[in-house]
Symmetry: C2
Subunit: 390 residues, 2 copies
C-alpha cells in the first residue's frame, strides 16, 4: 500500500467539520436530527447547522461529544440542574452526515438519542445537518427500488459473505428486462451497510430515475476487506493486500450476482466505483480487469493520470468513463485543517489532461464538504447519469 493511501485512510477516520464564525449566538430554532431514534428529542440541529446535544447521566463527572471543532476535540457538555449534560457546537457544522461518539467519564459510548452507523470499525452515532440540496436524497413519494441482503458463498474465504443489492423500481414487474450493474465500495472502517444507511444510495437512485435523469441500473455493495483492518491489528492496514478481496469480487460475487439477478453480464454494462479506500480498491482492480469493467469512479479515493492511462493496456478502447470527485475541503490547500489525505497530485489537472487526450473524464467537486458522506452522496448523483450510456 502506498503512502498516499495510508494518508487518505487516516483522513477517513477523523471528521473535521468546518466552523463558521465562533462566538456568535446560535439561532434558537433547534429541531431533532432526522437520524434520531423514534421519539428522541436530542441531538438537535438548528437552521444554521449548529448541533445541540443532551445526555442524561446524573452522576457522571464529564461528558464530551467527539463532534465539534477541528482541533478542539469536540463539544464539551455541561451539567444542567436536571442531571442532564447539554452543549451546543461552537459554530455550524458542515452540511450532511457526521459520525460521532460520546466520552462519558473516560469511556466511549454512543448517544442513546440517535441511530448508529458503521464507521471507524465500530457502530458510531450519526447526526444529519440538513443540506441545501437535501431533496436529492430525500424519501419521496416516487416508485422505490428494493435493497436486498444477499448471502453469497465464498470458497476463497471459507464463509458466506454478505452484500446488499439495489434493484431499481420496475425490476420486479418487467420480468424480461436486464440491467447494468455498478459495484460500489465503502471506505475504510465502514462496511457494506454504509452506502444504503449513511449514503442513501437507494433514495438517490429512486429520485434520479423518477426524474428521468439516469438509466435504471443495479448497485451491488459488499464488504471490501477480507482481513482484520483495525490499525495495529495483525493483518491490518500495514499488510493490506488487494488480492483476497479481488478474488471475492471477481470470482465469487460477480458470478453470484449475474446468476441471481437479471443483469447485462458484460463489461460495457459493468462499472466499479468506491469512496476513499473503496476508490483505491477500484483503481487497483478495475483497470487491470477491463474484460469485466468499462467505467471507473474514484470518490475522494485518488486520481487518475495520463501515467495511469498509459499503464493500462487497451484503455482507450475499453474504458468508457473515468469519474473522479472530491469534497471542496479536501482540495483547498489554503485551509489550515487540510486533511492529511489530500491528493498528492492535482486531481483536477489530471482529469483535464485525460479529457484533452480524448478520454471521457469527468471531475466533480462537492461544495463546502470534506471527507464525509455528503461528498459521496453528491458524487453518486453526478456519476449515475453518466454510466451505461450505450
Amino acid at each position: 500500500m502506498n503512502r498516499a493511501m495510508i494518508l487518505m485512510l487516516g483522513a477517513a477516520i477523523s471528521s473535521a467539520p468546518a466552523l463558521a464564525q465562533g462566538g456568535a449566538a446560535a439561532k434558537e430554532d433547534f429541531k431533532p436530527s432526522s437520524l434520531n431514534q423514534p421519539g428522541q428529542q436530542y441531538p438537535q440541529v438548528n437552521s444554521q447547522g449548529y448541533a445541540r446535544f443532551r445526555i442524561v447521566a446524573p452522576d457522571a463527572k464529564a461528558v464530551k461529544v467527539s463532534l465539534g471543532l477541528g482541533g478542539r476535540g469536540g463539544t464539551v457538555l455541561t451539567k444542567a440542574d436536571d442531571g442532564s449534560w447539554v452543549g451546543t457546537s461552537e459554530g455550524p457544522l458542515d452540511e450532511g452526515f457526521h459520525y460521532y461518539h460520546l466520552t462519558v467519564d473516560g469511556g466511549t459510548f454512543n448517544d442513546p438519542g440517535t441511530l448508529n452507523f458503521y464507521g471507524s470499525t465500530r457502530w458510531e452515532s450519526g447526526i444529519e445537518i440538513p443540506a441545501r440540496d437535501a431533496d436529492f436524497y430525500a424519501l419521496k413519494n416516487v416508485p422505490h427500488g428494493h435493497v436486498q441482503q444477499v448471502l453469497f458463498p465464498s470458497p476463497s474465504t471459507g464463509t458466506q459473505r454478505r452484500a446488499f443489492v439495489y434493484t431499481p423500481p420496475g425490476y420486479d414487474q418487467d420480468q424480461g428486462a436486464r440491467y447494468p450493474v455498478l459495484y460500489l465500495q465503502h471506505g475504510w472502517g465502514e462496511d457494506e451497510t454504509a452506502w444504503s444507511n449513511q449514503g442513501h444510495a437507494n433514495l438517490i437512485m429512486d429520485n434520479l430515475i423518477a426524474a428521468g435523469k439516469t438509466r435504471p441500473f443495479i448497485i451491488v455493495m459488499t464488504y471490501g476487506m477480507t482481513n482484520d483492518i483495525r490499525p495495529g491489528s495483525p493483518g491490518g492496514l500495514a499488510s493490506f493486500d488487494i488480492r483476497p478481496f479481488q478474488t471475492v469480487l471477481l470470482n465469487e460475487l460477480i458470478p453470484y450476482v449475474d446468476g441471481h439477478f437479471r443483469t447485462l453480464a458484460d463489461a460495457p454494462h459493468r462499472a466499479m466505483a468506491g469512496l476513499s479506500m473503496g476508490g483505491f480498491e477500484t483503481k487497483l482492480i478495475a483497470p487491470k480487469n477491463l474484460d469485466k469493467f468499462s467505467a471507473i469512479g474514484l470518490l475522494s479515493g485518488g486520481t487518475f493520470s495520463m501515467e495511469d492511462v498509459r499503464a493500462t493496456p487497451d484503455f482507450r478502447n475499453k474504458v468508457k468513463l473515468v469519474f473522479v470527485s472530491f469534497g471542496s475541503r479536501e482540495l483547498d490547500r489554503n485551509r489550515t485543517n487540510l486533511p492529511p489525505g489530500a491528493p498528492p497530485s492535482d486531481p483536477k489537472a489530471n482529469a483535464e489532461a485525460l479529457k484533452a487526450a480524448g478520454i471521457n473524464s469527468v471531475f466533480y467537486v462537492s461544495p463546502d464538504t470534506a471527507h464525509e458522506f455528503l461528498t459521496w452522496r453528491r458524487s453518486l448523483r453526478e456519476l449515475a447519469p453518466l454510466l451505461f450510456r450505450d
Copy 2:
C-alpha cells in the same frame, strides 16, 4: 385493548432470564458473544451460559448491566485495576437472545462491544447465549434466500412505509414459480427489523428449505404500529386501535407485495402470525379477514379457544391451521418469576379443545425459554413446515 394484552406487552419489556444455582464458580471457558461488533472481545459467554461483561470507563462511579437475575436488577460491575469495569452474571442465563443495556453513572447507554437490536422502543445491546439446538438458525453453507427492504406507499398514513421481504432460495432463478406468503409481526417495542436481526427468520427458512422440511415461501415483515407506542405518550398503548395498522396491512402492503413479488395471491396461500403484541394483532385481524388469510399463528401472543372459533363465521371451512406457542417459562405457574403476561386461560387446553373439534390446531412449547426470541425462533421452525400444505 384488553387487560390481558396490556399484561402481555408488559412482559415483553422485562427480560427475566432464569438462573441455575447461584454462587457456583463459573467455568473459565468464556468466548466473545457471537453478536459482538467486529474485533470486540466483550461481552463473553461461557459453556454454561454465564455472561461476562467488561466496560472501559475509568472515571465512572458505577456501572451496571441490566441483564442478570430476575428481581436483582442486573449485574453490578466492579472496577478493575486497569480502569475497566468487569462482572459476571451470578448464574447461567437462559439460552438464546437477550436485550440489555448499561447504566453508567445514572445514564442509559449501550455496551460498545456488541451490536444493537431494536427492542423496548430503543436500539438495545444484544447478547446470544448459544442454545443446544442453535444449528437450526445458524448461518450455514446452504443456498440462501434474500431479505429485501421495500418502501411501499401508504396513503392512509401519508408516508412511505418500510417492510422486509424474505424471498426463498431459487426465487430469482425460476422466474415462473409463484409462492405463498406469511405476514409475520414483531412484538411491542420492536420493529420490522426484529424477525431478521434478532429472529434469524431468513436463516431458519434457508435451513428448513435445504433440509426439505418446508415448502419455500415468502415472509413479509413490517412495522405493526402506526402511532407512537411508548408508554404514557399521546396515542400510546392505552389508546391502541388495530384499525390504522389493519388498513396499512390489508389495503396497502398486501397489494404492494402481490404487485411486486411472484406470490400466490389468495387466502389459501396467505398466512398471518406474530409474536407477543404481533400475536394479538394477528388474532384481531386474521379471523375477521378469512378472504385473505387461511392460517393463524400466535407466538407468545394469546390463545385461541372454542369461543373464538364460534365467534368466527366460516371458521371450519376457511382456517387450515391455528398455531399457538409459548416459552415453557411463560406457562410454569409454579415459578416465582412468572411473567405478568402469562396467559389468562390454559392455552394448551384451548388448543386441545380445537383439535378434539376437528380443527387443525397445533400447540408448541419451547423448552426452558421465556418471553424472548429463542421461543419465537423455535416457534417459526415448528410453524413453517405446517403452512401451505395443499
